[in-house]
Symmetry: C2
Subunit: 453 residues, 2 copies
């Protein structure tokens, strides 16, 4: 879309025409736009204005716009619709996977009402079937729109079947070949279909070397497979290897994006998916948990130092190096955990053993610790004029803290992953806070031993 | 691939057969695997073993394996090949975009040699054309494999042309419609082609509402467009709107993944793309820069406190709260910058003004600061028994530092973005270090004013 469509003038003009119930004017302004662009414009309109536009436009375009909106905005608009309207104007126009997504967002009561209002019984049955799968599995991602042919048919029959089955589909990539029991055997590419003589039997020309997933395969795993093999879609089979759905690459891109954004936000200490447009309350809800956890870490560190108050009165110089110890521990912990989380996410950390990884992190920590310690040793000695013993204390503490942070940062995400939890939650608050407190604790323990207070 | 293919037994068996130059045995073991799976197995083999397998397998499969490898591994293998071998066995088998990527990794001398050895002059010309585009633009992503038809042709002519042009292509999605000057007019879907009578003129049935990009469009922007409109491929035009290439969604997924991984790693203070498999040296190179920057931040903070040493001797309690101030500042800074970076990356931060964002961050900081300050006030007063003045100092400092960190964390990435730099670099070292030093500085300045030392 041209960016000038989003100018204040354009939005003002559109709002005015909506207020004036000038249907023709509104259609002239946005009738030619792509639904994704209209959805973007919706960000600048009130819910009432949005509902007016949705009512006004063709059902097919309205359904597409609704799909592009954020869940919250969509819910607000759908609240102004009756169950029958949702069924007739929205669900009927959608692919089964999108329809199931929208219906799963409704309340239980509304779900039943909307489904009972869907006129096309076949469509309704398929949607109900999809509703039983978890959101984050292949079953939750797949759609029922695909073309399948029997291995015993001829190419000519396949073309005819394809024309019939493809009617409801926007885009056709592959034709799936099944046996009499509906078991997935392979695919026939459109290219093959176009370039093979029409009385050839499908059995003789289809490709049986294909990738597929089960309904229960995790969405992230599906994304990794699609990416690894550069696929445009992947068939989904049930426990009996019967073809039950197909996942297209656009759904998988959303999975990749969401997973990456979630990991990123967790690493940055943000607990909900937010962006700059969200309200201050929502942003605060997403940000305050980590700040509070971090705060308790800082207070814990203060507690440790406070407990040593008398001993430390003669060693205030030790206190001035606490920020150094602490930020170094935090940085190392985040680095280590981020590498593990990412390697787990993109599937590259499959075959490494925990022991091997931890010993590597130990060596890494030692190496990084030595480098940092040498630099700090010179600076603290020559610039701050710290005594020999204090310099040694600081450096020894740095090395220990770095190794400790590297090992914790590696171990925790691996542990979470093994227990079936999302390792990304460990990158933010947990690693930082535990390293804050542990770092300060280790520092003063080492000081106690060396300085003997 | 079955995971059992990656067992030690399997790799051991394969290695033994390679050592014994048992070509048939090797082929039996891996001949049926997908190139992406063989590339994964390559991770467990030496370069010599890899070269043996590449030599052994069909050129087409070898080329696919090479494409799946990491750049470093690919380079090692290609070093054992002559320019003629690279041209004949590798480049000839590849799509133009992949071929251009591989050639661009070679030394300048090798580039010329390999190109001069490509037998198919048309293929060579297309590759040379692609080489002139920057890696991170649409021109650098696009391939020359697409089907185009003239608007004046009939469907029948189009089908014939398609069959001819499609010969070299793995997958066909769309047929591009151009005029006599080669200017892009629209697309004809395969579905339309299959369902329209053969003497219809293309002009009458093609779809002119399509998305396209220019050769100079940034790769991240291309990814956003493909995601936004749920496309499988997008045509690329030159300055005269002539169709010059097509970008497929699999290339774009790589862009999305790489961008997300890069932002994530930068936020975690990692300066190079690494994973757990990399060598300790490489991991250290990626991790030490931020640790050093963070170290200087910590030393800077120590310097500030050291300068106030005499005054602080009577206020050691102030020093014990430095970790709290510092980690809070760091956390807020990362949160704010991460939200901006992500909103910039996914394109949702297009229409907001800097002033609006900064005032929002100010309010957010104030709100978060107040919440944290109230909690800290009670704890410091009741648990640590700090005096009234010191409690006020700590809380006022917390609020100021949080607001300051929120504003810096928002402003810096927006500034970098405006200057055409990657805003993600600001999430890690820069924000943290500047907040470390600034936080401590603000804290003691406020203490100075309130406590009057």
């Amino acid at each position: 879309m041209n960016n000038d469509k989003m100018t204040k003038d354009f939005i003002g003009d559109l709002s005015a025409k909506i207020q004036a119930q000038n249907a023709r004017g509104v259609k002239e302004l946005i009738g030619d736009l792509h639904p994704a662009d209209i959805a973007e414009i919706f960000g600048e309109l009130s819910t009432d204005e949005q509902s007016y536009v949705i009512d006004l436009l063709d059902n097919e375009i309205s359904a597409d716009i609704l799909l592009e909106l954020e869940e919250e905005d969509r819910r607000k608009i759908l609240r102004t619709f009756s169950a029958k309207e949702i069924a007739d104007e929205v669900i009927t126009e959608m692919d089964t996977d999108d329809a199931a997504d929208i219906i799963s967002e409704l309340s239980d009561r509304q779900k039943v009402e909307v489904i009972s209002q869907i006129e096309d019984q076949e469509h309704a049955k398929e949607i109900v079937e999809l509703l039983k799968f978890d959101d984050d599995t292949a079953g939750g991602l797949m759609g029922k729109e695909f073309i399948k042919v029997n291995k015993d048919w001829s190419i000519l029959t396949a073309v005819k079947q394809m024309r019939r089955q493809a009617e409801e589909m926007e885009q056709v990539f592959s034709i799936y070949v099944v046996d009499d029991e509906d078991k997935l055997l392979g695919i026939l590419s459109l290219k093959k279909l176009l370039t093979t003589s029409s009385n050839t039997k499908i059995e003789d020309v289809y490709n049986d070397k294909i990738q597929y997933v089960n309904t229960f395969t995790k969405d992230v795993e599906v994304a990794n497979i699609i990416t690894k093999y550069d696929l445009y879609e992947i068939p989904v089979v049930d426990e009996l290897k019967r073809l039950v759905g197909v996942i297209t690459v656009d759904d998988v891109i959303d999975v990749i994006r969401e997973e990456a954004e979630e990991n990123y936000q967790l690493a940055a200490g943000i607990t909900q998916n937010v962006d700059t447009d969200d309200s201050i309350w929502r942003l605060t809800r997403a940000r305050i948990p980590w700040l509070l956890i971090g705060m308790f870490g800082g207070i814990g560190a203060a507690g440790i130092m406070n407990g040593l108050n008398d001993e430390l009165a003669q060693y205030t110089i030790l206190l001035t190096f606490v920020p150094l110890i602490q930020s170094t521990a935090g940085n190392v912990g985040i680095q280590s955990s981020a590498i593990v989380v990412q390697s787990l996410a993109n599937g590259s950390l499959k075959n490494s053993s925990v022991v091997k990884l931890l010993s590597k992190e130990f060596l890494l920590g030692l190496l990084n610790g030595l480098i940092i310690a040498v630099v700090v040793l010179s600076i603290s000695h020559f610039v701050f004029g710290t005594t020999y013993k204090i310099s040694i204390t600081i450096c020894l503490a740095l090395i220990t803290v770095i190794i400790n942070a590297a090992i914790i940062g590696t171990f925790i995400p691996m542990l979470l992953h093994k227990r079936g939890m999302d390792p990304a939650v460990s990158t933010g608050p947990f690693i930082t806070t535990s390293n804050d407190i542990l770092g300060v604790f280790i520092y003063f323990m080492i000081a106690k031993v060396i300085l003997g207070f």
